[in-house]
């Protein structure tokens, strides 16, 4: 299908009864209007990253870039090359936190979700109820005791303070459990009759079947860790993250506006690309995300 016919097809709503054209037209106008509100700031960021200095400070400000340049990115490298901690260090720190945190979360959440989804045993329903309950409050509520626990463990100023709590993010377990419930019991029983133990069933039967849910957990966990600034746990400059570096660049004042936009572009591109790649799997998993009454 060509792009043209795809777009035209979009304007012709599904053939269904009870549709009035005028209302359709109005509703899609609404959709386009709000879509613009959502996407314009992002387009603006992209444009700003490529603006030369004179275009950044033009009055009245201009939305689109006219003479795109890579100056901001080269400036970024120069500024960061001169700083005490090399820029690559921030990238490496962020990558470490994000990759270990995301992969570990997928593994631990799946391992915990499998028994909860497929078996009944003492404590299983109460454990799941606690997880659902914990969806209903934000992590801010537990921030202070968390800090106390971290300092008791001696984890202040280590990356473990960011990574370890993120491994047990409750939304991940919830979605994984809901998704695993769809795996046919017969498949698991058959594997057991063939002599596989619980761990083998989990690893060779269940895990390959929940790949869409892996991608979903990834797309939820990755941006959260990728955008972390280290919170109140990391003070050492050597361990700071990309998001922290960004806030420092921005604080550098108005002369750094272009460089700031360049870092912002770096920060937002990765999660958005990931979502584009995993979109259909994510939607598939989300279909099972409902809460039973």
């Amino acid at each position: 299908m060509t792009l043209y016919s795809r777009v035209i097809g979009a304007l012709r709503p599904q053939k269904r009864l009870n549709r009035s054209f005028a209302v359709s037209f109005m509703l899609f106008g609404l959709l386009l209007g709000f879509g613009a509100f959502m996407v314009l700031p992002l387009i603006y960021t992209v444009n700003n990253a490529f603006k030369p200095l004179d275009e950044l400070f033009i009055f009245p400000p201009r939305f689109l870039v006219r003479n795109p340049t890579l100056e901001n990115f080269t400036d970024l490298m120069v500024i960061m090359g001169n700083s005490w901690v090399p820029f690559t260090r921030y990238i490496a720190n962020t990558l470490l936190i994000t990759l270990v945190g995301t992969a570990g979360h997928i593994l631990l959440a799946s391992a915990a979700a499998y028994p909860l989804a497929k078996f009944k045993f003492p404590g299983s329903s109460i454990l799941f109820k606690i997880v659902v309950l914990s969806l209903m409050f934000s992590p801010h509520v537990t921030a202070i005791p968390n800090y106390l626990v971290m300092s008791q463990l001696g984890w202040i100023n280590t990356q473990a303070a960011i990574i370890v709590p993120s491994l047990a993010f409750s939304l991940g377990l919830f979605l994984m459990k809901q998704f695993m419930e769809q795996i046919p019991d017969a498949l698991i029983e058959a594997a057991k009759i063939d002599g596989a133990n619980e761990y083998r069933v989990f690893w060779q039967i269940v895990m390959p079947n929940v790949k869409p849910a892996w991608l979903t957990l990834m797309i939820l966990q990755f941006p959260a860790l990728w955008g972390t600034d280290g919170g109140s746990f990391i003070y050492s400059e050597n361990l700071k993250t990309l998001h922290y570096a960004l806030s420092q660049v921005i604080q550098g004042g108005i002369a750094r506006a272009g460089v700031g936009a360049a870092v912002a572009l770096l920060l937002m591109t990765v999660p958005i690309l990931l979502f584009i790649i995993s979109q259909s799997s994510v939607i598939q998993t989300m279909a099972t995300s409902g809460m039973k009454e």
Partner: protein
């Protein structure tokens, strides 16, 4: 469900006294032993989950009855933190008022927006549906780049809004948007709404795709006249589980506004205009080190979030009736 624990072996009756109770315990112990592999598989997750989520909630509640500054040993002071918080802390009252304002406006609005846009997107062709999903979802995952709104609302004439309004002649001089308490709250709400089409939005899109299409034909036969009746009597009841999930996500997020307010309005903001319960919590927890007092704030926040969630879920059960 794989049934593995219905092996009804004869209860241990040999012992004198209360055989029934004892046999139940024995049965339970047997079940536990039989499930040891499951406990083992869950243990890494559950240990971390309890250590950093469940126990902290309990500790926070306990700590709220103490005076604790991280240096001295905690001193029990009963309800004093709560009475000071609720009766003597004017800034907390501002924070509470702001938080409720945020929640009452952004909560329902973002929830309705999540559903409305998901519903509209659902009628598009697959390619455009994917594109629009990306457009609406991208802000919430774009990694804290909401600071770009700082440029939009910047106080000088280079700020996008000021520049625009001055160009068309509405303003003669730039307005300090983020330093003026008249505007701060509204700006934070706008940016919060921009960020709020997250997980629940995806859940709604997915839920809409699983609604049984034959129901619509049946509904048309039964006299459903327009798309609004279709929505209320067929679509919404069919996706009630997703609606519940979405409500939990949106409510929790709308009571936890803090990062956006801090990034845009500063910390503390002018006259506390952007102050919320969470920023108040941060103030006492990370700057003043009054951990007991901060824990009392956290406990109240916890109670508000939980209470609202329960109430909303009760309300949602009435959908489509």
């Amino acid at each position: 469900m794989v049934q593995i624990h219905n092996t009804t072996e004869p209860a241990l009756q040999g012992l004198a006294g209360g055989p029934l109770k004892e046999s139940r315990l024995a049965q339970l112990w047997k079940d536990i032993k039989k499930s040891k592999h499951y406990y083992f598989m869950m243990s890494p997750y559950m240990i971390i989950f309890f250590l950093f989520t469940v126990i902290p909630v309990v500790v926070s509640f306990g700590l709220s009855f103490f005076y604790f500054n991280m240096l001295e040993t905690p001193r029990f002071i009963g309800w004093e933190n709560y009475s000071r918080l609720l009766l003597g802390d004017d800034v907390f009252m501002i924070a509470l008022k702001n938080t409720f304002l945020f929640a009452v406006i952004t909560g329902p609005l973002s929830y309705i927006a999540c559903f409305l846009f998901a519903w509209l997107i659902n009628e598009l062709s697959p390619f455009v549906r994917a594109l629009m999903t990306l457009v609406f979802y991208a802000p919430s995952i774009s990694g804290n780049v909401f600071f770009i709104w700082l440029i939009v609302f910047s106080g000088d004439s280079y700020g996008y809004l000021n520049g625009f309004l001055m160009k068309i002649g509405v303003l003669l001089e730039p307005i300090q948007w983020l330093q003026n308490e008249k505007y701060i709250l509204a700006i934070v709400i706008i940016v919060q709404l921009w960020l709020s089409l997250g997980t629940s939005f995806l859940a709604f899109i997915a839920g809409l795709q699983t609604v049984d299409q034959t129901l619509f034909e049946a509904g048309a036969m039964d006299g459903i006249r327009n798309r609004w009746q279709e929505l209320w009597f067929i679509t919404l009841p069919s996706m009630r589980p997703q609606l519940m999930f979405g409500a939990v996500m949106q409510i929790t997020a709308s009571f936890a506004v803090a990062e956006v307010s801090i990034a845009l309005a500063g910390f503390p903001s002018v006259n506390y205009a952007g102050h919320t319960v969470v920023t108040h919590l941060m103030d006492y927890g990370t700057l003043r080190f009054e951990m007991g007092y901060a824990s009392a704030i956290a406990t109240i926040l916890f109670a508000i979030m939980l209470g609202t969630n329960m109430m909303t879920q009760k309300l949602l059960r009435k959908v489509g009736e």
